[in-house]
């Protein structure tokens, strides 16, 4: 039925297009001067039919489940009297699976009857939708057809509808962001109802193991985020120490010194680096980098832990190289040749030209790239889940094992969880902090870029 509704809608929209177009052409043939081109008259009808009816269909599909469920429940209200929400849900699920043809054991007769009713309701809903869609589409089509006249501003109408669609699309991003933040804040609020804010913000102990069942013996649980955040910072700093110099140097070399042929080869390689999935970087970190570092460390008598932070951090740094180098590359190539010529023409060496003219002019782009890389490093999950440790320690020793915020969020949410104990809620609080830290960095990055923007033209 849904398919039929869509087909019907598209057919009517196309008919509306052709009809309006012909009507407009006829008016023009009679010698009147049209305000809008005939194509716009057609497109007006097409959009007038398509957009509202599509919205109706989508709303229908979203809402019909709830409506059918509640009708179903009211039909068997007597049977559900006095049951908890969990049990009601179980019964509804059973009825639906019977309706779907999977029957376990011998269900009661009233359940079979309810399943029949459920099927009938679904069919009814589909038919109703088809009727509503067809009627609405026809109505809109006739409405658009009646609008066709020599001085009807079809182009303005089309432009309005399209700009409305564009506004809608741009607003989607805003609402999604607001929704995500709101849900994070809501869960974080529940967490802080169980664990004091001060303990979370200033505690230096992170042991989120708490008893899941009454009879389980486990520690009370400690939720100080500092060691976890410190771990994230250690890994981020290591990653940047690797990525920033390598990324910048390669961008400078490729932009200013490299012969064309080398550039033509090196650029695609950097792009391939950007395309490697982070999981693969994870393998690389545990299977190659970490053992090598450990072997080397031990051979010179250092105490190196198996989940060495240096390995995870430096592999993450490799991941960030193309990021930084492509930003820096863009920023450097955006500096006009005339500025370089100006400096060289005054007898500046290339190095002087770069440090005194090129960098000041390109710095906003370069800094923007670095700060975005920081945000990525802080939020990166896969590499650290695979290669960093699990135990939170207050340490900045890169040879030790550290854990990160993202790793902890993953481990908190893995396995048998219910969303009402501090252990799982802690994940949201960590997520919130991560969001805040990255947000602050992004705002900072945007401000720098804005401050220096249009330094040259």
């Amino acid at each position: 039925m849904t398919t039929a509704a869509f087909l019907c809608l598209f057919a009517l929209a196309i008919i509306g297009y052709v009809w309006n177009r012909q009507a407009a052409t006829a008016i023009r043939r009679d010698g009147a001067r049209l305000h809008s081109l005939v194509g716009f008259h057609g497109a007006f009808s097409l959009l007038m039919v398509l957009v509202p009816v599509l919205v109706v269909i989508l709303l229908w599909l979203v809402l019909q489940g709830h409506v059918i469920d509640s009708i179903l429940k009211s039909g068997i209200a007597a049977r559900l009297e006095g049951l908890g929400t969990g049990e009601v849900q179980l019964i509804i699920a059973e009825i639906k699976s019977i309706a779907g043809g999977t029957i376990f054991g011998t269900p009661e007769d009233w359940k079979l009857a309810a399943a029949d009713r459920y099927l009938a309701l679904n069919v009814r809903s589909g038919q109703l939708m088809l009727v509503v869609v067809t009627a609405l589409a026809l109505g809109l089509m006739l409405f658009s057809r009646r609008k066709v006249a020599a001085d009807f501003r079809a182009r303005h109408g089309v432009e309005h509808i399209i700009s409305g669609l564009m506004i809608f699309c741009s607003v989607v991003a805003i609402f999604v962001t607001i929704g995500i933040v709101a849900s994070l804040m809501f869960e974080t609020g529940k967490f802080f109802a169980k664990v004091p804010v001060t303990e979370f913000l200033f505690g230096t102990n992170w042991e989120p193991q708490i008893p899941l069942r009454e009879d389980q013996v486990a520690a009370e649980g400690a939720f100080g985020w500092l060691p976890v955040m410190l771990g994230t910072l250690v890994i981020t700093v290591i990653a940047l120490v690797v990525a920033v110099p390598v990324g910048l140097m390669s961008a400078i070399y490729l932009n200013e010194f490299a012969p064309r042929r080398f550039r033509a080869v090196a650029k695609p390689f950097l792009e391939i680096l950007a395309g490697v999935p982070t999981v693969v970087y994870g393998f690389f970190a545990i299977l190659v980098v970490a053992p090598a570092m450990r072997g080397f460390g031990q051979s010179i008598g250092l105490d190196v832990s198996p989940n060495i932070a240096l390995a995870a951090g430096s592999v993450m740094g490799i991941m960030l190289i193309p990021f930084i180098s492509s930003f820096a590359d863009d920023a450097l190539s955006a500096v006009p040749q005339s500025l370089r010529d100006g400096a060289l023409g005054l007898g500046a060496t290339r190095a002087e030209m770069m440090t005194s003219v090129l960098f000041p002019a390109a710095i906003p782009g370069i800094v923007g790239g670095i700060l975005l890389a920081v945000s990525r490093a802080i939020g990166e999950t896969m590499i650290v889940v695979m290669a960093a440790g699990l135990i939170a320690k207050m340490t900045i020793n890169p040879l030790d094992s550290v854990t990160t915020v993202t790793v902890q969020i993953v481990t908190l949410l893995i396995g048998d969880t219910s969303f009402d104990n501090p252990k799982t809620l802690a994940a949201f609080a960590l997520g919130m902090m991560l969001f805040l830290v990255t947000l602050i960095i992004n705002v900072f990055a945007l401000r720098i870029v804005r401050k220096y923007r249009e330094a040259y033209d």
Binding site: L339, G342, G347, A348
Partner: protein
């Protein structure tokens, strides 16, 4: 027909600063300069004239090896500054450009303050020992470029915030501040009003006491006013080179004549 030149035209006894022989310039496959021979004298203003696209800027850029910065550009032939081949391997283009300054066709101030723009050359070449020295160089250069009165109260503001004509004068000041031996000016007055143009022409004439100046211009009057020697380029050839008075009053080549009387251009 033209304004009388300011100074005497008899310059042939001066020493040769640049001598170019059989210079060809290629951009990839296309030949932009097709065998140019020219001598540029010391203490002389030499004007390059010719229709747009004939290669004036290209040839000018050969004289301080700015063409090196263009990948596809290839220069052949022999260009000597004070008798030394400037395209010789042993020559450092950086030192050459410190001696041969350039003002570009399009104003290109750095996105720095007006002061730092002018002080750029003196700083990288260590021309000023004290801050006061540097201040003096900046002031003198801005005065020579006829920009001091407009800029003296806003020396710390960005040079890119000036008007187009002011930017061009800033670039002139910047080039002058490095005290080059030769100054190459690519249409320095194309964005200037008549008053500023007159001031720049005065500067050019003044610079002639110490330096050699090469100026590209589209204004016949300007060439006639400021230069002692004129070179007429056409389609990559140096058609005619001689004393300015002779070129403008008695050209030997008919292409020169049609150009200066406005028939080709």
């Amino acid at each position: 027909m033209y304004d009388a030149p300011k100074l005497e035209r008899n310059v042939d006894d001066r020493t040769i600063k640049f001598s170019a022989r059989n210079v060809h310039v290629f951009y990839g496959e296309t030949e932009a300069i097709k065998g140019v021979d020219v001598d540029i004298l010391d203490n002389t203003v030499t004007a390059f004239i010719g229709p747009s696209g004939c290669g004036k800027s290209t040839f000018l850029r050969c004289l301080n090896r700015m063409n090196d910065t263009i990948d596809i550009c290839r220069v052949t032939g022999d260009i000597r500054l004070d008798g030394h081949d400037i395209y010789d391997r042993s020559v450092d283009p950086v030192q050459l450009r410190a001696k041969v300054g350039m003002v570009f066709q399009k104003p290109n101030p750095f996105p720095k303050s007006i002061y730092d723009n002018v002080a750029y050359g003196p700083r990288i070449h260590g021309l000023a020992r004290t801050r006061a020295d540097l201040d003096a160089i900046v002031e003198q250069s801005l005065r020579r470029a006829a920009l001091w009165d407009e800029a003296k109260d806003r020396l710390d503001q960005p040079g890119t915030g000036l008007s187009g004509g002011q930017q061009q004068r800033l670039c002139i000041a910047r080039a002058v501040a490095t005290s080059p031996e030769v100054l190459l000016m690519d249409e320095p007055c194309s964005a200037l009003d008549p008053i500023a143009t007159a001031q720049v022409e005065e500067l050019i004439d003044e610079l002639r006491q110490d330096y050699s100046v090469v100026i590209v211009t589209h204004s016949m009057q300007q060439a006639a006013r400021v230069s002692q020697k004129t070179a007429f380029f056409h389609l990559g050839h140096l058609v005619e080179f001689g004393d300015t008075g002779q070129i403008f009053t008695n050209p030997h080549d008919e292409r020169t004549e049609s150009y200066i009387t406005g028939r080709i251009g």
